[in-house]
Amino acid sequence: MDASTEFENGQAKFDAIIAADEKIEPRDWMPDGYRKTVIRQMAQHAHSEVIGMQPEANWILRAPTLLRKAILIAKVQDEAGHGLYLYSATETLGVSRDELVGLLHEGKQKYSSIFNYPALSWADMGAIGWLVDGAAIVNQIVLQGTSYGPYSRAMVKICKEESFHARQGYSIMMALAEGSDEQKAMCQDALNRWWWPALMMFGPHDSESAHTAESMAWKIKRKTNDELRQMFIDQTVPQAHYLGMTIPDPDLVFDEETGHWTIGEIDWDEFWATIKGDGRLNRERITHKVKAWDEGRWVRDAATAYAAKQKMKPDKSA
C-alpha cells in the first residue's frame, strides 16, 4: 500500500468514526491537525488543573476551621490528581509530560486565564468552587462526549469529583450569606470579582473563536462557547439570588420569550489582555511553578540516580 492510499484509507476510517459518534483511540489514524488540537486542548486542561492549585493553596493555611481546611486540601489534591491523569491521557498522543510542562514554563502553552485573578478573601474559596468549578463542570460534562476516547473517559472520571468541588464552594458562600454583615459583604465582593472572569472562561464569542468551527466538525467540542456560557448563566443566576446576592451586571434581564438570562457586554479587552499574558497574576503563577520545578531538580536527580544504582546492583532476589 503506498502512502497516499494509506492516507485515504485512514482518513476514510477516521471520518466514519466521527460520523458514527464513536471514539478515536490512540492507535487510530488521525489527521495531524486533529492530533495537534487535542494535544493543545488536553495539555491546556492539565496545566489549568495544576496552576489552579495556587490560588486555593494560598488559603489552606488561613482556613477558618479544621473541616474547611481539610476540604480545601482535598480539593487541591484532586486538582493535582486531575492534572496527573490528564497529562497521562495526553501522553497517549505521543508527547511526554516533561515536554508539556516545559512548554507551559516557556509560555508556549496556556492554562485557563481564570487563575490569573487573585484570591483575596476567604469568600474567594467559595466563589472559586461555586463559579469557577461550576463553569468548568458545564464545559466538562459536554466534553464527556468529545471524540477522543482517552479525553472523554478522563472527563467522566473528573466530573464526579468536580461536582463535589462546586458544592463545597456554594456551601462556603451559603455560610457567609447567612452570617454577619461583614461576611455578607465578603460574599458579595467575591461574586463581584469572580462573575465576569467566570463568564470569560468559556472563551470568545463563537464569531471570534479561531478553533471553534474545526473543533466542532471533529467533535472535539460538542457545544460552542456561547452555548456553554448561556447554560452556565442560566444555572447560576438563580443560585446567586438564592444566596441573596446581586449579580454585578446592571443589564442582566430574564428574557421571557427565550427562557434565558441575557447579560451585558463582557469586557473583551480584559479577556484578551489576560490571555496574552497581561492579567493580574500571569507572571506570578508561572514564576511560582517554575521556582518549585527548579527547586525540586536535585530531588528528581536523586531519585533517578538511586534507581540507576539499584539496577546496577546484583539481583537481590536471585
Partner: protein, 255 residues
C-alpha cells in the same frame, strides 16, 4: 470569651497530641503546590489530610470530655503560643524538601509506635482514633523512609543536603521520649502511653533507614525540649498568627 484552656487532665493530654498533628499538618500544607513532582504534591496532600483529620477528631473529643463550652475549633483558633503543647520538632520550618522529609521521618518513626501503643488505651474513643491513625502512620513512615533512602543514596548533593537536615533536627528528637507528671498520670490510669518505652523501637527503625540511606547518625548530644510546657522555638508564633487570623479577626462567627 473566657480563657481557652482545658481543665480536665485527659482533655489536656489529648490536646497535646492534637497539637502535634495540627502543627505538623499546617507545616505540610505550606508545601502544597511546591513539590518536586506532581505525584509528590498528591502524597503531601495525603499526609496533610491525615494529620489535620486526626487533629480534628482529637480536638473535638478533648472539648467534649472537658465539658467546657468550647468547640474543637476554639481550641485550635483561640489558644496562644504558650498554650500550645506540641513537640518542638513538628513546628520546625523547612527550607526545602530535605528538611521536610527529615522532619517527617524522625517524627513518623516515633508516631507509628505511639499510635500502636495508644490503641490499647482504656478509653474507647481514644483507642479508636489511635487505631485508625496507626494505619495512616504506617504509610507515612514508609513514604518518608523511602525518600530518606533515595536522598541519602542518590547524588552527592542530595546526600549532603539530607544529612544536614537530619543533623539540624536531631536536637529535637529526645523530647519525644520525655515524660512528665501528666504522662505518668495517664499511664497509671491506663489511658495514655509511656513514650520513654518507645525509644528503642524508634532508634532501631531510624538506625536501619539511616544505614540503608548511607547516612550517619548525628553524634551531637545536645538536646532541647519544652514544647509540652509551652516553651516553643520562635517559629510557632508566626504559624499560629496566620492560621488563627480569620477566626480572631471576626470571632464568634459561623464559617
Amino acid at each position: 470569651m473566657t480563657a481557652v484552656t482545658t481543665q480536665n487532665a485527659l482533655a489536656t493530654y489529648v490536646v497535646r497530641h492534637a497539637d502535634d498533628n495540627v502543627v505538623l499538618g499546617q507545616r505540610l500544607a505550606e508545601y502544597i503546590s511546591r513539590a518536586p513532582e506532581l505525584e509528590e504534591d498528591l502524597a503531601i496532600g495525603n499526609l496533610t489530610l491525615d494529620h489535620i483529620g486526626v487533629a480534628d477528631h482529637l480536638f473535638t473529643y478533648a472539648a467534649k470530655i472537658d465539658g467546657c463550652d468550647l468547640s474543637g475549633d476554639d481550641l485550635v483558633m483561640f489558644r496562644s503560643e504558650r498554650d500550645y503543647t506540641n513537640l518542638l520538632l513538628v513546628e520546625q520550618r523547612h527550607d526545602g524538601f530535605d528538611d521536610l522529609i527529615a522532619r517527617q521521618f524522625l517524627f513518623d518513626a516515633y508516631q507509628l509506635p505511639f499510635w500502636e501503643a495508644l490503641s490499647a488505651s482504656n478509653d474507647e474513643t481514644i483507642a479508636g482514633i489511635a487505631q485508625r491513625a496507626a494505619k495512616e502512620a504506617r504509610y507515612h513512615l514508609r513514604h518518608s523512609s523511602m525518600w530518606m533512602v533515595r536522598l541519602g543514596d542518590g547524588t552527592p548533593e542530595s546526600h549532603t543536603r539530607i544529612q544536614a537536615s537530619i543533623d539540624r533536627l536531631w536536637r529535637f528528637t529526645s523530647e519525644m521520649f520525655e515524660t512528665d507528671a501528666l504522662d505518668r498520670e495517664m499511664v497509671e490510669s491506663g489511658l495514655g502511653v509511656d513514650t520513654s518505652t518507645l525509644r528503642e523501637t524508634w532508634e532501631s527503625s531510624v538506625d536501619a533507614v539511616l544505614e540503608e540511606a548511607t547516612l550517619t547518625r548525628p553524634q551531637d548530644s545536645f538536646q532541647t525540649s519544652g514544647g509540652r510546657s509551652g516553651m516553643h522555638t520562635e517559629y510557632l508564633g508566626p504559624m499560629l498568627a496566620e492560621m488563627q487570623w480569620l477566626q480572631r479577626s471576626q470571632p464568634g462567627m459561623s464559617w
